[in-house]
Amino acid sequence: MPYKLLEVDKKIPQRKNHVYVKHCSDPEDEIPDCNTKTVPGSMSERGCAFAGVKGVITGAIKDVIHVVHSPIGCTSYGYGTKRYPTTPDMPNGEKFPIDNFNLKYILGTDLQESDVVFGGMKKLKKSIIEAHKEFPEATAIYTYSTCTTGLIGDDLDAVAKETSEELGIEVVAFNAPGFCGPSQSKGHHVGNLTLFENLVGTKEPLETTPYDVNLIGEYNIDGDLWIIKDYLEEMGINLLSKFTGDCSHDEICWMHRAKLSLVRCQRSATYIADLIEEKYGVPYIKVDFFSTKYCAENLRTIGKYFGLEEEAEKVIESRMEKVAPEIEFYKSKLQGKRVFIFSGGPKSYHLSKPLEEELGMETVAVASQFEHKDGYEKMKSRVKEGTLIVDDPNSLEFEEIIQVYKPDLILAGVKEKYLAHKLGVPCLLIHSYENGPYMGFEGFVNLAKDMYRNIYSPVWSMLEFEEEPSVGENAEVHEDSSEKQETKPENTGELA
């Protein structure tokens, strides 16, 4: 049977359907159960819908104010979550006056007991007006419902409409209270719908070209987007709108004018690409820029669409020339290393094959906090026989996977990293990265380098005190690190 009840799940047997071992004779549609309610008290790693909308979708936008309508916690926690840098460049060529505005400020209504009893709408209205006064330079104001305001029934849309008219600035309400949906994924969906319904089609771009694209589902984690932007621009393609890495509010308003949408994170943002295609006829393609092979393949596809094949080849060639020797080096080091990828969503299928094919590693387990059916189908198609596929793993399962599958490296988040370390296994941050960006050709080198650094950090060979050090082992370590010094190529993958 492909479904597996882990030892630690004996008391919560419903988890069996979420844990799956790939077997070649399985029917194709057999995948782990997913996007269902979390088992209470299981120590799931999932977050809430509010985290999905503010933390992933809107938090990357450079020129809007976020007013969280909540008791103080959600506002505090919504501050400075992901690493998505922005430039001050606005579409009209001007500079936004506050650097890193999206990382610098978060606003909230700090609801008190009396607000819970009598309703918080008045306070929200006042707060939005004050927010505008405090940051008049902001293009728009986004406000978020949370568990409390969802439960007491505050009508954020009404307040948004009222304040928008009063202030003459767009105010958009996002209704994704923390309890809605099984995970943060619900918040992504609400974010997409809200932005589409309220913004897309409401403004016209300053200029258009025949090569305008939307880059959707790319949040510029650690500068990922800037890498892809360079490739596309070198090919002659214009990023009309980004959704939402390093993007401005207005860009979303004219997404309907692109010739093509490219969907990068297909879990969190295919929704809006679908909606734009349906309403405005803008086609989209799903793209994958992780690793040299996928990146090259997808640049070629985009080049073909626009008749820019040669330009795509030039980009690929110039980058490959630069990164190929480095990748060769890291491949020699990472060959045969067992890796467990535990991503939020799609990175498990973006990375599983490239790590195997381009770096010679072995993907022994993949897992995701909030993927849906389509994601797991892709995940299954991209791993080999015997690989473990887990939906929403909890911390005991995480420990059992470490014990049984003995990975040399785990790619996961900060909540998992230190537990892995305590169990003696290096763990690299894959949600927000360590020394990224990880996307594109140069990014893949950064990822390989970070994996190499983590696995080969000398500490892992000295975890325990030894009465009588075994000479052979230590000698090997030294030899290894000296070899590293001698043969490691120049650090060309690092971005300036």
Binding site: P40, G41, G47, I72, Y105, G108, K415
Partner: protein, 460 residues
């Protein structure tokens, strides 16, 4: 005549908060129990965000369960989530204590957590027999829309002692309620107690749980529990101690309860930051135990005094310092800054508490400097204030790093969270030795920022 000018928030909207909601404080408190497991009765974000925050600050695992309320629970109540959550946790993780922590959602829905906990206890009894009695299930009410994380911490400590403390033979120990502080701070407190031949019961002790060694061969796996933390037996025994010292004025309820219920006398003070606050801590412990201050501690005090004599007047005198953060740490720090001859010209706390402003008045009198007190304010208020009223140094958590950068004021990192530097959680700012550490940090920052690197003034 020096005076305090209290500046309260003049807007509704909060911008870059200096506080968070109650559940965090309770999660922190329960993490300090040996084999203690917090379970948050709320949405997944309520635990995920806090775990993220703890992991980022302590660089340690932070295992906090959640009942994962979804829409159906919002409509029909969270009974099945909580009962199943407690059972799943108990059966799979074998904890000694489960702290059931409420949130805004569960409080608004009106879930009867006490009743649900009883149901879970009954179910566990059926499944585990007598073993079920070994698991203490303790509900802690922490409505997120009332006060702040300090209130949640206070409520949790109070719930723990109310639930567990049992009168028995006197134990010659001193209870310490440490507040929301770092592992390094707790270790320093332990050192001071040991130096005074005193055993402490920490209510609770996060020092090992949030700063555990990496020793795979000694690490219990499946489930992973860090070593250390206050044991259930110690929590029970807290009723038999000589006294309780709460070094967090905002978390005195547990001490008051122990005094009322079990006649354990209490002292509730500002944390021992700097010379006089540490003296007071030592006197409090000494009062309860009858043990006088040790030579060792007197020497440590002397070393701090020596360093103050050597360096304070020369490098620090008259420099203006702005301090922001949690109320107890800022109060302690303001006084210490004054002891060093500097002026705490602005102190900001996001948490409101009646003692805060009177304490600032005392410090103002003592130091002779005017203090602008940003009371119940936020980091945006600090930023706006500092643009008009520049200072030489800023003391506070990592959330102020961009303000410090924009205004070109060096930031001395202190409090929670510190995530853009390493090691701060291991250092103590408490005690005489913590004072030395802080003073060195401050002095070196001043030397780096305000002295030309090639200048002859740095020659000796």
């Amino acid at each position: 005549m020096s005076c305090v000018n209290v500046i309260e928030k003049d807007r509704n909207v909060i911008i870059n908060p200096l506080k968070t909601c109650q559940p965090l404080g309770a999660m922190f408190a329960v993490t300090g129990i040996n084999k203690g497991f917090p379970i948050v009765h709320g949405s997944q974000g309520c635990s995920a965000f806090v775990r993220y925050g703890f992991a980022r600050h302590f660089r340690e695992p932070s295992e906090i369960a959640v009942t994962a309320l979804h829409e159906d629970a919002a409509v029909f109540g969270g009974r099945s989530n909580l009962v199943a959550g407690i059972e799943n946790l108990a059966l799979r993780f074998d904890p000694d204590v489960i702290g059931v922590i409420t949130t805004c959602s569960s409080e608004i829905i009106g879930d009867d957590v006490y009743g649900f906990a009883d149901t879970a206890r009954g179910n566990l009894k059926e499944k585990l027999g007598e073993d079920a009695d070994k698991i203490e299930i303790i509900p802690i009410n922490t409505p997120s829309f009332v006060e702040s994380h300090y209130k949640g911490y206070d409520n949790a400590i109070n719930a723990l002692v109310n639930h567990l403390a049992r009168k028995d033979e006197p134990n010659e120990k001193v209870n310490i309620i440490p507040g929301i502080i770092n592992p390094g701070d707790i270790r320093e407190l332990k050192h001071m107690l040991a130096s005074m031949d005193t055993d402490g019961i920490f209510l609770t002790d996060i020092s090992d749980p949030f700063d555990a060694p990496l020793r795979p061969s000694k690490t219990k796996e499946i489930p992973y529990y860090p070593k250390g933390g206050t044991t259930v037996d110690e929590l029970r025994d807290s009723a038999n101690s000589l006294g309780t010292v709460s070094i967090c004025k905002y978390a005195g309820s547990g001490a008051t309860s122990l005094e009322r219920e079990h006649k354990v006398p209490s002292a509730i003070e500002t944390p021992p930051i700097g010379l006089q606050n540490t003296d007071q801590f030592v006197r409090n412990v000494s009062k309860f135990t009858g043990n006088s201050i040790s030579e060792e501690l007197l020497d440590e005090r002397g070393m701090l005094v020596d360093s103050m004599a050597d360096n304070a007047a020369r490098y620090l005198y008259g420099r203006k310092v702005a301090i922001y953060g949690d109320p107890d740490l800022t109060t302690g720090m303001a006084r210490f800054v004054g002891e060093l001859g500097m002026e705490p010209t602005m102190v900001c706390t996001g948490v409101k508490y009646p003692d805060f402003n009177p304490d600032m008045e005392k410090i103002s009198k003592e130091t002779g400097s005017d203090i602008d007190v940003l009371y119940g304010q936020d980091l945006r208020a600090v930023e706006v204030y500092l643009k008009e009223n520049p200072v030489d140094l800023l003391v506070g958590n990592s959330d102020g790093r961009l303000i410090a950068l924009d205004l070109d004021i060096p930031l001395i990192r202190m409090g929670f969270p510190v995530y853009d530097r390493v090691g701060y959680q291991r250092q103590s700012v408490l005690g005489y030795r913590g004072g030395l550490y802080l003073m060195d940090l401050i002095t070196n920052t001043v030397l780096e920022k305000y002295y030309e690197p090639t200048h002859w003034k740095l020659q000796q």
